[in-house]
Symmetry: C2
Subunit: 357 residues, 2 copies
């Protein structure tokens, strides 16, 4: 499929969380239907999607029926089992492509890929044994952080190493999984670039946002970010280099550390990204629609920023503040329809438009 999808076409989305939910709504704005594939029952995206398949990623029949009912397949998360991808890809195009998934599923591959492009990352080393870890700590120093190479998300599967004495416990915490040691970077703040690449190879980037994390989870994103004109342009060029190298189609989130010596790539996510939610209020075309446009083979849209925005995540019982937030001036509320507000669970977000002048 290289022709643009027409009204009524079906976008298949792997994953039924809040990202799938907002992708689904964006697809509907362009006249598309969405079909969600999600193992868990009653996913947030199911409330707004045209169709939902509830089945595990090991169910070949369900995967086949899903693929045959859609025109293109995309996803809201990167840890999709390989066998499922093999089957799906034999039936319909998957966008972004498998290489983007492979690279971002594995921290070590990702860092090798990024440094191979000449981009700067934190110092790192592969760790598969206690001896590896000791050698790596000797080279990289402390403090450092040991992370499993796969399935990391919101601070899980990670162990901080403040001094050499922490090494055995950190290694044990990996529970035998392949890991990567990362040195700390002395950065002033973190920004992210949400960038998109179309089927025709055109690239567009949203204005970088400045991120603040709390307990390992994104708390706020502010646009504009504190960046010099040169840094802003570097940030966009870094993202473009990554997208082009992967022959990428869709939206990608690229997290960057801002240091006196330049921008350091922290990690990439081959999907719409929490730090891009501000685009829903600040741009004519938001990150969700931009992603749908790309995977549907449409022209990328105008993502230029026309308002200053602060996005705040509503985590766990933050949602209890909704009655107050609903009365604020300039606040746009986005709730995900999740029934239970567990600690650490992303329940929604607020985009606050910062009035000018």
């Amino acid at each position: 499929m290289t022709e643009p999808l027409q009204t009524g076409a079906v976008i298949g989305i792997l994953g039924g969380g809040q990202l799938g939910r907002m992708l689904s709504v964006a697809a509907s704005r362009l006249g598309f239907r969405s079909h969600i594939y999600e193992p868990a029952a009653n996913p947030p995206a199911g409330q707004v999607a045209d169709r939902v398949t509830t089945a595990p990623y090991e169910d070949a029949d369900a995967l086949r029926a899903f693929a045959e009912s859609v025109d293109v397949i995309t996803y809201e998360f990167e840890n999709i089992p390989t066998d499922a991808l093999d089957l799906l890809e034999s039936l319909r195009p998957i966008r972004p492509n498998r290489r983007a998934l492979a690279v971002s599923q594995d921290r070590l591959l990702e860092k090798d890929f990024l440094t191979g492009l000449g981009l700067n990352c934190a110092p790192y080393a592969a760790v598969t044994s206690q001896a590896d870890l000791t050698a790596a700590l000797t080279r990289i120093g402390t403090p450092a952080i040991l992370k499993t190479t796969r399935l990391g998300y919101d601070g899980k599967g990670q162990a901080r190493i403040r001094s050499l004495a922490d090494a055995p416990a950190a290694f044990a915490a990996m529970q035998g999984a392949a890991a990567v040691l990362e040195g700390f970077v002395d950065f002033s703040h973190e920004v992210s670039v949400i960038a998109a690449r179309g089927l025709d190879g055109s690239v567009a980037a949203f204005d970088p946002g400045e991120n603040v994390h709390k307990d390992g989870i994104l708390s706020t994103t502010t646009v504009p970010a504190r960046l010099s004109a040169g840094q802003r342009s570097d940030a966009v060029l870094i993202a473009a280099r990554i997208l082009n190298a992967l022959d990428y189609v869709g939206v990608m989130g690229v997290e960057l550390f801002v240091t006196p010596a330049g921008l350091i790539v922290n990690e990439i996510a081959p999907r719409v990204h929490n730090s891009g939610h501000w685009t829903q209020q600040g741009c004519a075309v938001d990150q969700f629609e931009q992603h749908i446009r790309a995977v549907a083979g449409w022209a990328l849209g105008d993502g230029s920023r026309y308002a200053d925005v602060v996005m705040e995540n509503l985590i766990g019982d933050d949602v209890d503040r909704i009655p107050q937030i609903a009365r604020e001036r300039g606040a746009s509320i986005h709730l995900y329809g999740k029934a239970e507000a567990r600690p650490g669970r992303k329940m929604g977000h607020v985009n606050r438009i910062v009035t000018r002048g």
Copy 2:
């Protein structure tokens, strides 16, 4: 029900067209689920709603099951059969209320109501016989327009009378239905106010938009409208007077003619309104969310305008221009997921953000 609805509550929506579709999406943003009731199969709103009931308004069992599955009932159109409303209202609150529906379902009642509030309407007279029509034309003069009192929409059920000689044909065109003769108003342009009233009686109005019709169907709405400060304030006060008089809960569209002698009320619609679609790009809280907030008992949101916008309806084969529109700067596309582009059919709209400075 006077307490605000909580996340997970279900908004019942009568009518599954594009207004129901956009109401449904707005409900999801606030964490609500939506349930659409629509006689026609495969309604546009069904693609984004949590549930759809496909049944006629004469099906008491289906109406009852629908009402019992929702927390509050609202609607996207005003011509809902009375028996259906009686049944639904016995089970769940209907917002806006029955009086608003009764008044806006009947052009004669509407004009009597509006003039009773001291508001200015075009000269009018009830017409149930040829003799009525002759007498009314003598008093009001020509040109004039004869309209059925009920079920008028987008120029249907109307006959223009240029001179007395047109009267018999116009009367015949009413096919025996009760009608109302309206004199022409010498206006420079039409504006509309999209206003909301909450369960607590608070009133908020969006900035008036300026409307241009083509072939009896809204073509564009532009904000800001050409209005003096005094006219702008009059427009909002007129809307507030109407909402308060009806003890209204929800969003209403009020169409006004701008004349040298002041504003003349053309008609009211007890629902979200095509001329309010620009709010999706121009405001933190759009008309659809404002309506859902009101019927859910929430505080009204901030509908202040932070961008200049031109909304263009995409009628019939206007949608063939989508590939070009998708490449425009500042254009936000909203398609309704309708399969067939028939002439006169509203297929979608574009909100164009007018860049400042």
